[in-house]
Amino acid sequence: MALDNAKVIARLQAALPDAILGSSEFRGDLSVYVRPERIVDVARFLRDDPELRYNFLENLCGVDYLGREPRFEVVYHLLSFANRHRICLKVGVSERDPSVPSLTELWPGANYHERETFDMFGIKFIGHPCLDRILMPEDWEGHPLRKDVPLGAEEVAFTFNQDRIYAHKPFAKE
């Protein structure tokens, strides 16, 4: 129970100083910015360290900061059942090469989260066993949660306008 944010970040800094870019605290929650290529090492350390024991991957999602570099951020929330403590890891992902190493090796349960993040943001998780779309249709173009995708409706096809609509929708003709 005696785990506080300062202790966690000190321990992490001591073990993997080159992987940590910085840290912040907001409303008592600790966020650590991690170098993308080292995310697996950091997560493995947090999971296996006998004192920290962040054994549970609670959440994994993407955020699109359009206009900022790196444009995307992948956010991981880890929980320690033993210490009842939560840590948030953040990884910046550039638009040019939107890829980060996959955590499925450490937690098989990262599978769906990563597929969802790929589906919604187009961020590739290197080492994922099968990075298919999960929520959107297979033939969907684009990644809907990106900020440059507008909120919009799908036009309903009637006989008077179906030729125009189907022209840019190859799957609908089948």
């Binding site: 409303r27 955020v63 098989p108 769906y112």
Partner: protein, 417 residues
Amino acid sequence: MTAAETRARNLSIPAPSQITRPALEGVKETMVLNMGPHHPSTHGVLRLVVELDGETVVDVAPDIGYLHTGIEKTMESKTYQKAVVLTDRTDYLAPLSNNLSYVLAVEKLLGCEVPERATVARVLLVELQRIASHLVWLGTHALDLAAMSVFLYGFREREQILDIFELVSGARMMTSYFRVGGLAYDLPAEFDAAVEAFLQIMPGRIDEYEALLTDNPLWIERTQGIGAIDSESAIALGLTGPGLRATGVAWDLRKTMPYCGYETYSFAIPTATHGDIYDRYLVRIAEMRESVSICRQALQRLRDIGPGPYMTLDRKIAPPPKSEITHSMEALIHHFKLWTEGFKPPRGDALAAVESPRGELATYIVSDGSAKPYRVHFRAPSFVNLQSLPHMARGCLVADLVALIASLDPVLGEVDR
């Protein structure tokens, strides 16, 4: 195969294409069967691609997304208070739990204090919601295994809970009753008696369900020893809620990382040891009893607190009462600003997790300092729990798969969001 390879194979979560592609190429002797998306046992539009050897399940890949409505995207264009109604529509069997997770996250961003009366009412209603949600699970689970009467009894009691929800919020299912800062309206005068009447009958009714199922040899035959999962695999796969607790891990956010003052209520975390379908059944039944006990404590507290504010008094978040608007310029300005612009939490991000009937429901919100959330993400328990299905199903019979889906209790609205 080495031990590590076997473990990796056991914990793998195939995508549908990983099963259909080899089948189409004809490189395997097994048969691929499509279950759903319109199948009564899948509890919604869940499609399962099942690889079969005879009647034994070799592998199974859930195919989801049929109910994807882009709720997370839509929320980015609503103000914080208006986005509450969208949370109802994710897990439609436990809308109040979703409301709670979302408003807690926004309140965390704002650093907003909620009046005691509102917090206690939230706990009481969320626990009623847990019972209502478990009743649907119990009824449909039993129905899937051909025990029809449990469904009818379960829905009878659920009806009573929905009547209470209608009493407080005006809506039976899409309640949107919790708002950022408190509650939408005060609890009505009839609330106390309605809850009291329900709490009086419920323990006896749970005994009735148990009399129908717990020692029923057919029920035991269909559920015991089937779809078992150990605690290590459950944690690796992200399983939470009754599924995790049935493996013996006493992890319940109400106890382990309390919110809404749960640490001040006395209740137990029911656990079991085998992690099979029967144990998940036992855990949920015991949880209903604990929820009744929490409701009773919360109701007593509401009586002790008496009438009082049900919404935060911070005028930057909650609108002033109508009576003030008629004679106070400031009140009118606050009212106007709140309904045209909404409030603006500071820049930052917050995650608030609650124990929903299905497991850990967390809402992650990023604020850019404007009146609309920059990003909202739900860590939906149904979505994550579905990952355990292949592990549980391998080696089962097709008929057991039906029982397994029911025991995971997925709500497809929440899976797809």
